[in-house]
Structure formats: C-alpha cells, structure tokens
Symmetry: C2
Subunit: 356 residues, 2 copies
C-alpha cells in the first residue's frame, strides 16, 4: 500500500522498492540515525532487507529530553566528521525524536541534504513522520526551533510495533483516536474499544490515520489555517508534557495528549460545540484507555503560562482547536484563562491512577 502526497510517497512495507530507489540515487554516503533502542530492535530488520546498503551509523540517546540543541550539534558534527556532503542521505530510524531531530539536522546540514523517515513507533508512524514538521525542543518548549521540510519518502512497517513497549503503543494510539475525533467518526467508533493488549492488525489503522493526516496537511502545509485541527488536544497536552518533563516526572506524548483531549473536549462542551452526553461518553472512553496522570504535581498557573507560549497563539491570546461533535473540528477558538483553569480542575477531580 502506498499513500502519495504532493512531494513524496508513504510506503507501507515496500522495503524492496525503497531500497531500489536509494540505490538508484547514487548517494555519496548513507547515514542511519538510531537510538539505543532502535539500534537493538529495528536496525537488524533494516539490515536484513537492505543487505547491500553501506552506511555510517550515528547513535543518540533515546527520549524527549534529548531532543535538544546539543544533540542536534552532535549529529551535525558526526555528519561533518564522517564526510557527509550535499549528496548524502540520512535515514532516520526511530520514533518522533529521531525523525524530528534527524530531519531538522538533515534539512539544515549544508542547507539541506536528503532524508528518509522510517518511523518505528505507532506515534511516529501515524503522526510525527507525516507533514514535514521538523525540530527540536528549546528552553523546555516543544518544537520551538525547527522548520518544514518534506522527506524523500516515508517507509512504514508495523513489524516494529512488535518490539514496542505497551506504554509507547498506547501513547501513539492517542493520535489515532485524535484523527477519528477531528475527522472521521466511523474510525473513532471502530478503534475506541480496541484491546491494545491483544494482537491487532495495525496496518489498516495506520493507513487510515496516515490518509487523514495527509489530507489535512496537503490542504494547508504551513499551518495557516485548517492544519491547526491536528492540534486538538495539543494546546493543553503540550503544556502538560512540558511541565512533567521539567518536573522530572516525564510522561509519554500520547498520555499528555489524552489529558489534553479530555480537557479540550471539556472546552468544546463549554462553548456549545459538544453535547453533554457525547462529552461524557468521550471522556469515559479516554479514561478506559489512559491512566490518570499525577496531577497533584501540577501548578495550574504555570501550565496556563506555558500555553501562552504555544505556537498557535496570536497576541498572547490562547487559541484552541475544538471538536464539533465527534468527527469534526474547528480552529482559532480563543478561550479565557478561567475556562482553561476549569477544564484542568475538572480533570483533577479524577483519582490518580496507581497502575499504568
């Protein structure tokens, strides 16, 4: 299966075709960026499919806390040291950190070399690798430094999910759910009750998510308008994620986004976009999948201050993308600090999960 965008193709499991394409380009060097997990679990798969590929490995430590300027500097330095020229290729084999940071480094090294994304987590397969958003965190703010550049192609193989920890799988699943909530009610209904602990055929789920995201992005590549709907759950979610990161109580992206979707569904109801019953069903569905995060550490004023640095804002106003029923989403909705506070407090009424 392939999904074509204007500028590149997303291949599902076509290792041979992508391998042949790489050979045909006659790159002067191939580099593969990994972290310690993808080096162990994913690189052997790549090696098996692409037996003849010669490459230089660049390894960085895993984790969002390493998606920072000093790591980017290390990658640029390795590219330079091992003689990368403009006709080199960087293959990013990993999750969102590898894809975002590797893509950022590639697209700024010598003003841009080619790169390919091979996402290895559900999150990056369904979300991060598509849409050309690249970047690093800066001063504790997510993706503050970055740019838009498309990869040469994306190669997705759900085989990598077999080695993915359950928490990571559930984290990525938040983006599948989001795609349903903002754009496809049927998709939401189909997946919301899935038992993630059971054996799942991820291919159709990934494919549908990729199609939804691609459709939105192709209509608004630089996030002038419509693309903002992909940020449902992310205004509050990013602040939660950053706050927990700074507090040393890191939570996974999707766990934070689940909190964000919970609170932003609350805001959607607040402004009359979501009926009360639908809202309660929705948050119940979310709570059945995602444990309640440790909200006892929250400083709500600080959380709201962090939202005021969100990239979607204008003139210090905090702007939201909110759902209109299930399956539709509107953007550029300004909410007051009082509204947001109330939404956060509503979440805090839930008892903190001791299980994860």
């Amino acid at each position: 299966m392939k999904v074509k965008t204007d500028n590149y193709t997303i291949y599902l499991q076509h290792w041979d075709e992508v391998g042949d394409w790489i050979s045909a380009q006659s790159y002067s060097h191939h580099f593969i960026l990994v972290d310690e997990n993808t080096r162990k679990h994913c690189l052997p798969v790549l090696d098996q499919y692409w037996k003849d590929l010669k490459y230089t490995l660049i390894a960085i430590p895993s984790g969002e806390e390493n998606k920072i300027l000093s790591t980017a500097k290390y990658v640029w330095d390795q590219l330079l040291t091992f003689g990368a020229d403009r006709h080199s290729l960087l293959i990013n084999l990993g999750g969102g950190v590898i894809g975002d940071l590797g893509g950022f480094c590639a697209s700024t090294y010598m003003r841009g070399i080619d790169f390919i994304q091979i996402p290895t987590t559900l999150l990056s397969m369904t979300d991060a690798s598509i849409g050309g958003k690249l970047g690093i965190d800066f001063q504790g703010f997510k993706n503050m430094i970055g740019l838009f550049t498309d990869p040469k192609c994306i190669l997705i193989d759900s085989v990598f999910l077999d080695s993915l920890p359950f928490g990571e799988l559930r984290s990525g699943f938040a983006e599948n759910l989001k795609h349903g909530l903002i754009a496809d009610k049927n998709f939401w209904e189909e997946i919301k009750d899935l038992n993630l602990q059971s054996k799942i055929d991820w291919n159709p789920i990934i494919q549908r998510s990729v199609e939804i995201k691609k459709d939105v992005v192709s209509k608004d590549p630089f996030e002038q308008g419509l693309r903002k709907i992909l940020n449902f759950g992310h205004t509050i979610g990013h602040a939660i994620e950053s706050f927990h990161l700074k507090a040393g109580a890191t939570i996974l992206h999707g766990e934070a986004i689940a909190v964000g979707m919970y609170c932003e569904a609350y805001l959607s109801r607040e402004v009359g976009l979501l009926e009360n019953e639908t809202f309660h069903d929705l948050i119940q569905d979310l709570l059945e999948i995602y444990p309640i995060v440790d909200h006892s550490i929250w400083d709500v004023d600080q959380l709201i201050a962090m939202m005021s640095k969100d990239k979607k804002n204008r003139d210090q106003k905090i702007m939201f993308s909110l759902i209109e029923n299930v399956g539709h989403c509107v953007f550029n909705k300004e909410m007051t600090k009082e509204n947001i506070l109330e939404a956060l407090q509503y979440y805090q009424l839930n008892e903190i999960s001791t299980l994860s």
Copy 2:
C-alpha cells in the same frame, strides 16, 4: 528603483513603501537585530524613517567569529523571552553576519517567522542579502548549518555606505567585480578601475549587481546547477577565509574572495578557458585593488583539505566554477590537488603587502 523576484521585492531606498507594508501586516511584535556598529550608525537612520515603529532590539557582537551556534541560541532565546510568536517580524539591520544569522534564526523560530533584510554593507547589499541563503558557521566551516528561505523583502539604501570603513567597502566590491567576471564583461570594464577612495554613486552599481545575482538565482534557487557560478572565487576563497579565521589572522570576506578569484582565474587559464593575456590583465586589476594577504601563514595542505569539505563537492572531488573569458562562467569543473597547489603557490610568489 525596485527589483522583483518571484517571491519578494528588493527596494532601493523606498523606506516609506516598506514602512507602510510593515504597518499593514499588523505583526504582533517587531524585533530588530543589530550589532554594536549598526546600532550606532544605522539604527538612527531607520528610527528617522520609521518614527512610529515599535520594536524590541536584539543586539549581538559584530564579526564573522560570532556567526555561530551560540549566537543563534542567544537570538532564539531573546525572541522567546520577549514573547515573539509566529506573527512576529524580525528586521535584520546589518551586514552578512546579521542577515545570515538573523534570517536563520527567524526561519527556524517556531518553524519560521517573517523577516526583512536591511543590508548595511556593500557586501550584503550586492550579495549576501539576495538569494535566500541563510546560515551559520560550524566547526570553523562557513555556512555549514543553514537553509534557503526568502525574506519578505529587502530594503537597500546606499546611505549606510557613508559610515562603512574603507576595508569593508573594498571587501564588498569583490562581489561586484565577481558579478562582472562571471556574467557581464561591460560591467567589469566599467567598475574595475574605480577609485574606491573617491565619492562614488553606488546606486547603479548595486542595482546591476542585484540584477545579475537575481537572474542567476531565479533560474536555480537551490543551487542544483547554474547558481554555482556565483561561487567563482569562493572555493579557494572560503578556505582562505576559514584558515585565516582559525589562525586568528582574520581577513575580510572580499579580501579572501579576491585571493580566490586570483587563484581560480589561474585554474581557468590552466584548463584553457582563459587566455594568457586576459589572465594577466585580470590579476593585475585585482592586485591594484586588493593587498596581498599574509600567505606566509598558509598551510597549503590544510587549505586543500578544507576545500575538500566545500559544499559544492561530490565524492570528495573538489569542484570549481571557472570563468570562460571575462563575462562567462562554467561550473562543476573538477580540479586536482596538484592544480590547486600550483595556483596557491603562484599567488604566494607575490610579496606580502605591508599596507592595507
């Protein structure tokens, strides 16, 4: 006078029109990037024309040695601290360092905010500000990290040249000369004997240079082919510039490019593109303008090693753009290390100038 490119306009002295355009955009914040020199000499001019413009000033130290990642980090940090959002504008008021680094920071801050270039040196008016090349030096290599992004507009006013030190003027003039050598024999003839110490009407010179550069760039914005002709003098010139920078004996860009044009004219003759007599006239003209740099400190092997990291190379081969008579230029010409060594040694036959 205006020069239009596909994506933006280069205004010569139209302060009112650009000022009106800025107002009409309703940016949420305006930032102006300066160094200590442009703050003193150029900002008062801007303040006089744009009396009502409210802005936050970001000041960085002048000089190529500050066109580095730590300075970029400082600019990003200042933007963040002073609340720059996606709808902010950065005005880069200065020479190549300000334009390249400021443009790089703007086009990566929150994945890109608008920026305007107001070049204040002859070099940046005729060369650096046009063509969308942005970036910083890295590990001693020029412009190793960067990207292509066009400014919203460029505003050129030769009034800034009145406060420019003579050495800087002569440095920038090397790019005017280069534009003549690669693309316009008449232009070369007109300007090569100018007395730079006298009062000169720079407007027609800047205009012609801007037109030449714009024509080349518009045909090949991402330097896939033709644009490489703008690199005449720069393969050797960049290595010389980097070498002197590392050695703590910094020379100006145009001084290094003059050496580069000298040596690459030698290579052009070597491969039969330039007649012997034309070659001798040409280097004589260059020597009358540019003092011989301190070549006694050169380590020619190291210089050649540095050229092998040039961004135009492929597969470690050192590629040159060479002139074919005066007024034409060809690109992708591979030269051997022996050829390059010979060209450098030919330059070293000149006695080092004690004057500058």
